[in-house]
């Protein structure tokens, strides 16, 4: 488990898989990600409210897009990253991967809730309803329950290794929901409109609207990395209790 694996080129990828090397690194990187997120968010909000014009159909109500879409993207992306680390944790039995999965879940749940909440507040004035049971909305709600289920499962099992393994399996099983959310508006007819931004076609948004939204999406990305790094440091401290290296940390002796 702890033996180093040398990949081609001699880069020791597993060096940072050890909590004692990752802990200080995460501590150093975290503030950078946090302040980048704050800056990007400020720029995104400025463009979103003062540069991007009024929408031709929705008027000012469309400005909810600057949080709704980034939050919805993050809610799905964080789950995919969680599932990835869950898979790595199951296969390689690395402690840090499982810690990363746990560290990501609350932020993912937060973004899922934000996507649903802002979606309801956006749906009421535009569609005429807070909520409908269409495929897009329902599958996103299932994602929220997957996050909650993961956190409850981890909290409910006392033995850390068993909790990790059960959580990892839930994370991997739940990953089928992600393509369902993403493609729901294509596969079935839904009240929710199709994607304005996709990899396969030109965005159907005015350039300034799009740039505001992308800046906010980047901010959400940086924020998620910052919170995950912060949380994984706490998890390392909680789980490595009694390890020798912890006693030499400045925060242990202060």
């Amino acid at each position: 488990m702890n033996q180093p694996i040398l990949l081609a080129g001699g880069v020791n990828v597993f060096k940072y898989a050890a909590p004692q090397t990752f802990y200080p690194l995460a501590g150093k990187l975290m503030p950078w990600f946090f302040w980048t997120a704050a800056l990007l968010c400020a720029a995104g909000l400025y463009i979103g409210f003062f540069v991007a014009p009024t929408d031709h159909q929705q008027g000012e109500a469309y400005r909810i897009i600057f949080i709704h879409v980034p939050a919805a993207w993050m809610s799905m992306f964080i789950y995919v990253v969680m599932a990835f680390w869950a898979g790595v944790g199951l296969i390689f039995n690395t402690r840090l991967s499982h810690m990363m999965v746990s560290a990501l879940a609350p932020t993912g749940a937060m973004f899922t809730f934000v996507a649903l909440w802002t979606g309801a507040l956006w749906g009421k004035p535009t569609w005429g309803t807070w909520w409908v049971w269409d495929a897009r909305l329902t599958s996103e709600l299932i994602l929220l329950f997957l996050y909650f289920g993961f956190m409850a499962l981890q909290a409910g099992i006392d033995d850390t290794r068993r909790a990790d393994r059960a959580g990892a399996i839930l994370a991997l099983v739940g990953v089928v929901n992600i393509p369902i959310i993403y493609f729901s508006v294509k596969w079935w007819n839904t009240l929710h409109q199709g994607a304005s931004v996709s990899l396969t076609s030109a965005p159907t948004m005015a350039a300034t609207m799009l740039s505001g939204m992308l800046l906010m999406a980047l901010a959400a990305w940086m924020y998620s990395i910052a919170t995950a790094l912060h949380r994984v440091r706490s998890i390392i401290l909680e789980r490595e209790q009694g390890a020798e290296w912890l006693k030499h940390l400045p925060e242990a002796t202060k």
Binding site: P125, T126, G128, W187, N189, G194
Partner: protein, 160 residues
């Protein structure tokens, strides 16, 4: 190394099985996942009989008529192939416009008229300032206003 490969294979196999299971379940429930029926599907008797369901399509341009009682609105839902006349009493959403998407819940009468109890607007995914929308509409002169940005709901364009 051996156990690692074994676990990798197990996780991969598990994910594959899961994906297949999900695909099977989804295709089995395909009909129930449909949020609304298009006028063409209704014409082909694919919509449920004798109970409330949703129809979706575009509000036919020029079809919206407000009745003298002030609360009843008549309009036609179209998918450019079939049309369904709809009667609705109540408040329409802000984005209910002629030539734009709409989803209505209600019952289909024997006379082919749909009585809606709820009308929702289905807007498209295009975001632009009003000036750009006008410019686009002018560029597509000859087509009815709004047609430039109209996206016909997916199910109307593909055969099921």
């Amino acid at each position: 190394m051996k156990t690692r490969h074994k676990r990798l294979a197990m996780v991969a196999a598990g994910l594959c099985a899961l994906g297949i299971a999900a695909a099977l379940v989804l295709s089995a429930f395909q009909k129930n996942l449909v949020f609304f029926f298009t006028p063409s599907q209704v014409a082909a008797n694919e919509a449920p009989q004798g109970r409330s369901f949703r129809i979706g399509g575009l509000v036919a341009p020029g079809s919206v008529q407000r009745q003298p009682d002030g609360v009843t609105v008549n309009f036609v839902v179209t998918d450019t192939v079939q049309n369904i006349p709809v009667a609705y009493r109540g408040v329409l959403p802000d984005l209910f416009r002629e030539g734009k998407g709409v989803v209505a819940q209600g019952n289909l009468g024997a006379d082919g008229r749909f009585t809606a109890s709820e009308v929702l607007a289905k807007h498209d995914e295009n975001y632009m300032p009003p000036e750009a929308a006008e410019a686009l509409a002018k560029a597509h002169a000859g087509k009815p206003p709004g047609a430039a940005t109209v996206v016909v709901p997916a199910a109307t364009t593909e055969k099921r």
